[in-house]
């Protein structure tokens, strides 16, 4: 199995290289600068795969030069990758890191060089700095956490949530938006605690949360901690539902748990490719499986949609970075996950869904969709 994965990994790079073609013949240059190592490697690899698949499926007549550069997880790693990608001329657009701190470091350079950054980062502040070159194809926390809180309060009718979040920037941003969203709904969490991603035992926080007598457990954790929490909660049977963050919808997270452990667990996300829903979505999922030997998630789909919008714009004649930026800023694109449209600040995604597991499989069903006007 490992050998097969290594071959698939190499094949993905080889396929990307072959899609790129010789530099002189390329119409477009779209480097993929994302974290494929480090603590965000899981999500970053999904992001990379989504971009790679979109480039491989570029509209006929377009040749795309591309290169995957691992940014690691440091801001300087992202800046170095961007400098390297720009070393042989200005890229048409960049599939840029989903890590907020890296995006913040890349933004001034993108402005200086005039390169559109297409990302699935959820960090709110990257589109709050007046930078006209950033485009986010994943709903920000303002959208997803509102959906998260609304599902808890309006659909489940819960009024006493216990909120458990990660102590990372991702977790704290989500917690702040959850708190605001709950406040608007007149709901006051009975318990809130941050958990370091390296924590190996979730029983202490589960014990304390249950001592506060909540009627629902609301999680905003990374993939591994989410799976740990759900597993330990299933073993302890706390008797209250779990509504988790987007990490729970990732197939790799569900793969760590038995279907029975997932019974009744729900999660917010922008989309759930493995849940299907349309022939186009099912074709994307099949193509992704064939290309990478793994299941796609919302990050992969968001990045795929973003790069496809760039490529479609290029096919329509937008062949310079500035023309691509204008097309992204003003256009409306019907992607697989949703219809994208900039709110004037580069926020392209304005929908979120809630998925739930029924205990019989690791594939969730979409149970509620929330659309927010941009």
């Amino acid at each position: 199995m490992p050998a097969r994965k290594a071959i698939l990994f190499a094949a993905a790079f080889a396929a990307l290289s072959s899609a790129a073609g010789p530099a002189a013949a390329a119409d477009l240059d779209i480097p993929v600068l994302v974290p494929v190592t480090g603590f965000l490697a899981l999500e970053g690899t999904s992001q990379r795969n989504g971009a790679v698949l979109a480039i491989r499926q570029a509209p006929e007549g377009l040749t795309v030069r591309s290169e995957v550069i691992d940014t690691g997880t440091s801001p300087e790693g992202a800046v170095t990758a961007l400098e390297r990608a720009s070393g042989r001329g200005t890229p048409t657009a960049i599939a840029a890191s989903m890590l907020g701190t890296q995006m913040l470091a890349m933004l001034p350079l993108a402005d200086e060089y005039g390169i559109p950054l297409v990302t699935v980062s959820g960090t709110a502040s990257i589109t709050e700095r007046g930078n006209p070159w950033v485009f986010r194809f994943f709903p920000g926390d303002g959208v997803t956490k509102t959906a998260h809180a609304r599902y808890v309060a309006e659909e489940l009718g819960k009024r006493r949530p216990a909120v458990i979040y990660q102590t990372t920037a991702y977790g704290q941003s989500g917690q702040a938006h959850l708190r605001d969203a709950f406040a608007k709904l007149g709901v006051e969490p009975v318990f809130e605690e941050g958990v370091d991603p390296g924590i190996r035992d979730m029983l202490p926080v589960l014990t304390k949360a249950m001592a506060a007598n909540p009627d629902v457990l609301v999680l905003h954790l990374h993939s591994g901690p989410t799976a740990l929490f759900v597993r330990q909660a299933a073993a302890m049977n706390p008797g209250v539902p779990i509504v988790a963050g987007s990490a729970m919808h990732q197939p790799s997270t569900a793969a760590l748990l038995e279907p029975a452990e997932l019974k009744g667990v729900c999660a917010e996300t922008s989309a759930s490719p493995v849940s299907g829903g349309s022939p186009e979505m099912e074709r994307f999922t099949a193509d992704y499986r064939a290309a990478f030997g793994t299941e796609p998630d919302a990050f992969a789909l968001g990045q795929y949609d973003g790069i496809r919008m760039v490529l479609d714009a290029a096919a329509d004649g937008a062949d310079t970075p500035e023309a691509v930026r204008n097309a992204l800023a003003k256009g409306i694109y019907r992607g697989l996950a949703m219809t994208y449209r900039s709110d004037g600040r580069g926020n392209m995604a304005h929908s979120a869904v809630i998925v739930c597991y029924d205990g019989s499989s690791r594939v969730p069903a979409v149970v509620k969709r929330y659309d927010v006007a941009p």
Binding site: K5, G38, G194, L203, K208, G224, T294
Partner: protein, 291 residues
């Protein structure tokens, strides 16, 4: 009361796994006076090896354990050949850096081979839960404590009762004198790395079932091992075990009563207090008397 017992059950299982990591760490430290900063990543490698073997050979974890330990011992030998022996006469910082490099190579190698997704190794026996006087005890936790305990006792037996153990101890205490006595010091050092990696592999299998394994999951473990050894007393095998159990119990209990952040802060405060009172660690004197 039941809640505290429940927490302690988890804490003991976690501590037993930490103890295996710390033991491998202290073994290499004793034999070479070098700090092996790749020990946490060797645990990660053991976890992924268990996942890979389970994918090819559908056996319960307890039967995979010897295989994982043997293959990890071979990896330990390789580490000693590449990262320690060529540098042993250089300043200590050379080995320090080379073991960090080994850890980074292992992390990125794991990412290439297995991808970044968290993975779980098979359970040692089964996946059930026992209800003991209201305390829910996962069978895996019992198995982890039992296996870790056996491995710790086995290591004690090896060092105290066998010819190999005596040679290893002699090498650790005075390599030059050991060489003068005809002990193959280089082979003993390599054997120590192999044993340390085998213990890391066992810990990797035990931990990766309960807590999953990712390419970066070893990074935090080495810090835990380092603190356990410092609390217990550098060079003391018993101290490493006690230190690991203390850390796990401390983490679990303080986390449950205050918060995870408070537990982390309190752990380091306790470490400072222990070092202020006993700079040699809790078992430091015992270690010196044995030497």
């Amino acid at each position: 009361m039941t809640g505290v017992a429940q927490l302690l059950v988890n804490g003991v299982a976690l501590g037993a796994s930490y103890a295996l990591v710390a033991l491998g760490f202290v073994l290499v430290l004793n034999a070479t006076s070098a700090v092996n900063f790749a020990q946490g990543d060797l645990v990660m490698a053991g976890g992924f090896l268990a996942v890979a073997l389970a994918g090819s050979i559908p056996l319960p974890g307890i039967l995979l354990l010897p295989l994982v330990a043997a293959l990890m011992a071979a990896l330990g030998l390789l580490v000693s050949l590449l990262a320690y022996l060529p540098l042993r006469h250089r300043p200590p910082v050379s080995v320090f850096i080379s073991t960090i490099a080994v850890g980074i190579i292992l992390q990125n190698g794991a990412t290439l081979l297995f991808g970044p997704e968290p993975k779980a190794a098979p359970p040692l026996f089964g996946g059930g839960t026992l209800d003991i006087a209201g305390v829910l005890v996962p069978e895996q936790s019992l198995a982890v404590v039992a296996v870790a305990g056996l491995l710790i006792l086995g290591q004690h037996w090896l060092f105290a009762r066998t010819q190999l153990g005596r040679r290893l101890r002699a090498t650790a205490q005075d390599p030059e004198m050991a060489r003068a006595c005809g002990i193959p010091v280089t082979a003993m050092v390599a054997a120590t790395f192999a044993l340390g990696a085998a213990l890391a592999g066992a810990a990797g299998l035990l931990l990766s079932n309960q807590f999953f394994v990712t390419p970066t999951s070893g990074s935090g473990l080495i810090l835990k091992a380092y603190i356990a050894v410092t609390i217990g007393g550098w060079g003391s095998v018993a101290g490493a075990v006690a230190g690991a159990l203390l850390i796990a119990a401390f983490e679990v209990v303080v986390s449950a009563t205050l918060s995870y952040s408070a537990a982390t802060a309190a752990l380091y405060l306790a470490l400072l207090a222990i070092l202020a009172v006993r700079p040699q660690g809790l078992f430091g004197e015992a270690a010196r008397s044995r030497a």
